[in-house]
Protein backbone atom coordinates (compact mmCIF):
# COMPACT_ATOMS: atom_id res chain seq x y z
CA UNK A 1 0.00 0.00 0.00
CA UNK A 2 1.68 3.17 -1.24
CA UNK A 3 -0.54 5.49 0.72
CA UNK A 4 -2.15 8.60 -0.74
CA UNK A 5 -0.16 9.84 -3.72
CA UNK A 6 -0.16 13.49 -4.71
CA UNK A 7 1.44 14.88 -7.83
CA UNK A 8 3.26 17.05 -8.51
CA UNK A 9 5.08 17.67 -5.23
CA UNK A 10 5.89 21.21 -6.27
CA UNK A 11 4.28 23.43 -8.85
CA UNK A 12 5.22 26.94 -9.85
CA UNK A 13 2.81 28.99 -11.91
CA UNK A 14 2.68 32.55 -13.11
CA UNK A 15 -0.14 34.79 -12.03
CA UNK A 16 -3.20 34.10 -14.17
CA UNK A 17 -2.17 30.59 -15.21
CA UNK A 18 -4.07 27.41 -14.44
CA UNK A 19 -2.89 24.75 -11.99
CA UNK A 20 -4.15 21.18 -11.76
CA UNK A 21 -3.28 19.08 -8.76
CA UNK A 22 -3.70 15.30 -8.69
CA UNK A 23 -4.52 12.89 -5.91
CA UNK A 24 -4.62 9.11 -5.89
CA UNK A 25 -6.40 7.88 -2.73
CA UNK A 26 -5.74 4.62 -0.97
CA UNK A 27 -7.42 1.78 -2.82
CA UNK A 28 -10.75 0.88 -1.26
CA UNK A 29 -11.22 4.19 0.53
CA UNK A 30 -14.58 5.76 -0.21
CA UNK A 31 -13.93 9.26 1.14
CA UNK A 32 -11.54 11.83 -0.32
CA UNK A 33 -10.79 15.24 1.17
CA UNK A 34 -8.88 18.28 -0.02
CA UNK A 35 -7.30 20.73 2.42
CA UNK A 36 -5.18 23.84 1.99
CA UNK A 37 -2.41 24.64 4.47
CA UNK A 38 -0.72 27.99 5.00
CA UNK A 39 1.26 29.42 7.89
CA UNK A 40 -1.33 32.12 8.46
CA UNK A 41 -4.59 30.17 8.04
CA UNK A 42 -3.42 26.71 9.07
CA UNK A 43 -5.33 23.73 7.70
CA UNK A 44 -8.46 24.76 5.81
CA UNK A 45 -11.06 22.33 4.52
CA UNK A 46 -11.84 22.70 0.83
CA UNK A 47 -14.02 19.83 -0.33
CA UNK A 48 -15.09 16.24 0.30
CA UNK A 49 -16.14 13.35 -1.95
CA UNK A 50 -17.76 10.10 -0.92
CA UNK A 51 -17.97 7.27 -3.42
CA UNK A 52 -16.86 9.81 -6.05
CA UNK A 53 -19.86 12.08 -5.40
CA UNK A 54 -19.25 15.63 -4.16
CA UNK A 55 -20.71 15.91 -0.66
CA UNK A 56 -19.44 19.17 0.76
CA UNK A 57 -17.57 21.92 -1.08
CA UNK A 58 -18.26 24.65 1.45
CA UNK A 59 -14.56 25.50 1.76
CA UNK A 60 -13.94 26.00 -1.92
CA UNK A 61 -13.47 29.55 -3.21
CA UNK A 62 -16.30 29.52 -5.71
CA UNK A 63 -14.97 31.47 -8.62
CA UNK A 64 -11.67 29.85 -9.54
CA UNK A 65 -11.48 26.54 -7.71
CA UNK A 66 -13.05 23.27 -8.82
CA UNK A 67 -12.59 19.65 -7.82
CA UNK A 68 -13.56 16.45 -9.52
CA UNK A 69 -13.39 12.75 -8.87
CA UNK A 70 -14.02 11.05 -12.21
CA UNK A 71 -13.22 7.59 -10.88
CA UNK A 72 -12.38 5.94 -7.57
CA UNK A 73 -8.66 6.03 -8.23
CA UNK A 74 -8.07 9.74 -8.60
CA UNK A 75 -9.28 13.22 -7.81
CA UNK A 76 -8.18 16.55 -9.21
CA UNK A 77 -8.19 20.08 -7.83
CA UNK A 78 -8.09 22.75 -10.49
CA UNK A 79 -7.33 26.39 -9.84
CA UNK A 80 -7.99 28.78 -12.71
CA UNK A 81 -6.30 32.14 -13.06
CA UNK A 82 -4.00 31.51 -10.10
CA UNK A 83 -3.24 34.42 -7.78
CA UNK A 84 -0.33 34.89 -5.35
CA UNK A 85 -2.70 34.32 -2.43
CA UNK A 86 -3.34 30.79 -3.76
CA UNK A 87 0.23 29.89 -2.81
CA UNK A 88 -0.05 27.12 -0.23
CA UNK A 89 0.41 23.43 0.35
CA UNK A 90 -2.60 21.51 -0.92
CA UNK A 91 -3.22 18.27 0.90
CA UNK A 92 -5.35 15.34 -0.17
CA UNK A 93 -6.56 12.73 2.30
CA UNK A 94 -8.60 9.57 2.05
CA UNK A 95 -10.59 7.60 4.58
CA UNK A 96 -12.46 4.36 4.63
CA UNK A 97 -15.60 6.22 5.64
CA UNK A 98 -15.46 9.82 6.78
CA UNK A 99 -14.11 12.14 9.44
CA UNK A 100 -14.99 9.75 12.23
CA UNK A 101 -12.30 7.45 10.90
CA UNK A 102 -8.62 7.95 10.32
CA UNK A 103 -7.68 10.33 7.53
CA UNK A 104 -4.60 9.30 5.59
CA UNK A 105 -2.83 12.25 4.03
CA UNK A 106 -0.59 12.54 1.05
CA UNK A 107 2.63 14.54 1.26
CA UNK A 108 0.94 17.49 -0.40
CA UNK A 109 1.56 19.69 -3.42
CA UNK A 110 3.32 22.97 -2.75
CA UNK A 111 1.89 25.56 -5.14
CA UNK A 112 3.85 28.75 -5.65
CA UNK A 113 2.24 31.51 -7.71
CA UNK A 114 4.70 34.13 -8.85
Amino acid sequence: NAGVIQTPRHKVTGKGQEATLWCEPISGHSAVFWYRQTIVQGLEFLTYFRNQAPIDDSGMPKERFSAQMPNQSHSTLKIQSTQPQDSAVYLCASSSWGVQNTLYFGAGTRLSVL
Binding site: F45, D56, Q100
Partner: protein, 109 residues
Amino acid sequence: SQLAEENLWALSVHEGESVTVNCSYKTSITALQWYRQKSGEGPAQLILIRSNEREKRNGRLRATLDTSSQSSSLSITATRCEDTAVYFCATDSNYQLIWGSGTKLIIKP
Protein backbone atom coordinates in the same frame (compact mmCIF):
# COMPACT_ATOMS: atom_id res chain seq x y z
CA SER B 1 -14.17 30.90 14.67
CA GLN B 2 -11.84 28.10 15.54
CA LEU B 3 -13.56 25.10 17.01
CA ALA B 4 -10.42 23.28 18.11
CA GLU B 5 -7.19 24.76 19.31
CA GLU B 6 -4.00 23.71 20.99
CA ASN B 7 -3.09 25.79 23.98
CA LEU B 8 0.56 26.53 23.20
CA TRP B 9 2.21 27.57 19.96
CA ALA B 10 5.52 25.88 20.72
CA LEU B 11 7.19 23.60 23.24
CA SER B 12 10.75 22.51 23.67
CA VAL B 13 12.06 19.66 25.82
CA HIS B 14 15.17 17.57 26.00
CA GLU B 15 15.30 14.08 24.59
CA GLY B 16 14.10 11.52 27.10
CA GLU B 17 11.81 13.92 28.94
CA SER B 18 8.02 13.73 28.89
CA VAL B 19 5.82 16.39 27.38
CA THR B 20 2.10 17.15 27.21
CA VAL B 21 0.23 19.07 24.54
CA ASN B 22 -3.22 20.38 25.42
CA CYS B 23 -6.22 21.07 23.25
CA SER B 24 -9.59 22.68 23.86
CA TYR B 25 -12.67 22.59 21.67
CA LYS B 26 -15.98 24.37 21.58
CA THR B 27 -18.67 22.05 20.25
CA SER B 28 -20.01 18.60 20.99
CA ILE B 29 -17.99 15.92 19.23
CA THR B 30 -18.17 12.26 18.34
CA ALA B 31 -14.39 11.92 18.32
CA LEU B 32 -11.17 13.87 18.71
CA GLN B 33 -8.06 13.01 16.77
CA TRP B 34 -4.42 13.82 17.36
CA TYR B 35 -2.16 14.16 14.33
CA ARG B 36 1.52 14.78 13.92
CA GLN B 37 3.02 16.56 10.94
CA LYS B 38 6.72 16.38 10.24
CA SER B 39 8.42 18.81 7.92
CA GLY B 40 7.63 18.08 4.27
CA GLU B 41 4.98 15.50 5.07
CA GLY B 42 1.22 15.42 5.44
CA PRO B 43 -0.34 14.97 8.89
CA ALA B 44 -0.34 11.42 10.25
CA GLN B 45 -2.86 10.28 12.81
CA LEU B 46 -1.53 9.30 16.21
CA ILE B 47 -4.66 8.60 18.23
CA LEU B 48 -8.41 8.77 17.67
CA ILE B 49 -10.36 9.00 20.92
CA ARG B 50 -14.14 8.77 20.82
CA SER B 51 -16.45 10.83 23.00
CA ASN B 52 -17.30 7.84 25.23
CA GLU B 53 -13.62 7.16 25.92
CA ARG B 54 -11.56 8.90 28.59
CA GLU B 55 -8.09 7.67 27.73
CA LYS B 56 -6.32 5.96 24.87
CA ARG B 57 -2.75 4.81 24.48
CA ASN B 58 -0.50 4.13 21.53
CA GLY B 59 2.99 3.09 22.55
CA ARG B 60 4.66 6.11 24.19
CA LEU B 61 1.61 8.25 23.49
CA ARG B 62 -1.35 8.74 25.77
CA ALA B 63 -4.40 10.82 24.96
CA THR B 64 -7.09 11.87 27.39
CA LEU B 65 -10.48 13.36 26.72
CA ASP B 66 -12.63 15.35 29.13
CA THR B 67 -15.96 16.11 27.50
CA SER B 68 -17.19 18.11 30.49
CA SER B 69 -14.40 20.67 30.12
CA GLN B 70 -14.15 20.11 26.35
CA SER B 71 -10.45 19.48 26.52
CA SER B 72 -7.94 16.84 25.54
CA SER B 73 -4.27 16.20 26.16
CA LEU B 74 -1.60 14.24 24.37
CA SER B 75 1.33 13.06 26.45
CA ILE B 76 4.55 11.68 25.03
CA THR B 77 6.94 9.84 27.31
CA ALA B 78 10.63 9.18 26.69
CA THR B 79 10.73 11.69 23.86
CA ARG B 80 13.05 11.16 20.92
CA CYS B 81 14.49 13.59 18.40
CA GLU B 82 12.18 12.11 15.77
CA ASP B 83 9.17 13.30 17.79
CA THR B 84 10.03 16.82 16.62
CA ALA B 85 6.96 17.89 14.66
CA VAL B 86 3.80 19.97 14.77
CA TYR B 87 1.02 18.33 16.74
CA PHE B 88 -2.62 19.01 15.90
CA CYS B 89 -5.87 18.12 17.52
CA ALA B 90 -8.89 17.85 15.24
CA THR B 91 -12.59 17.45 15.95
CA ASP B 92 -15.33 16.28 13.63
CA SER B 93 -18.02 18.68 12.52
CA ASN B 94 -20.47 17.44 9.92
CA TYR B 95 -18.26 16.25 7.07
CA GLN B 96 -15.19 18.21 8.09
CA LEU B 97 -12.35 17.86 10.52
CA ILE B 98 -11.83 21.14 12.34
CA TRP B 99 -8.15 21.62 13.07
CA GLY B 100 -6.35 23.50 15.76
CA SER B 101 -3.47 25.73 14.73
CA GLY B 102 -0.95 23.22 16.01
CA THR B 103 1.76 23.07 18.66
CA LYS B 104 5.32 22.93 17.41
CA LEU B 105 7.27 20.48 19.55
CA ILE B 106 11.05 20.56 19.43
CA ILE B 107 13.03 17.77 21.03
CA LYS B 108 16.55 18.87 21.85
CA PRO B 109 19.41 16.34 21.99
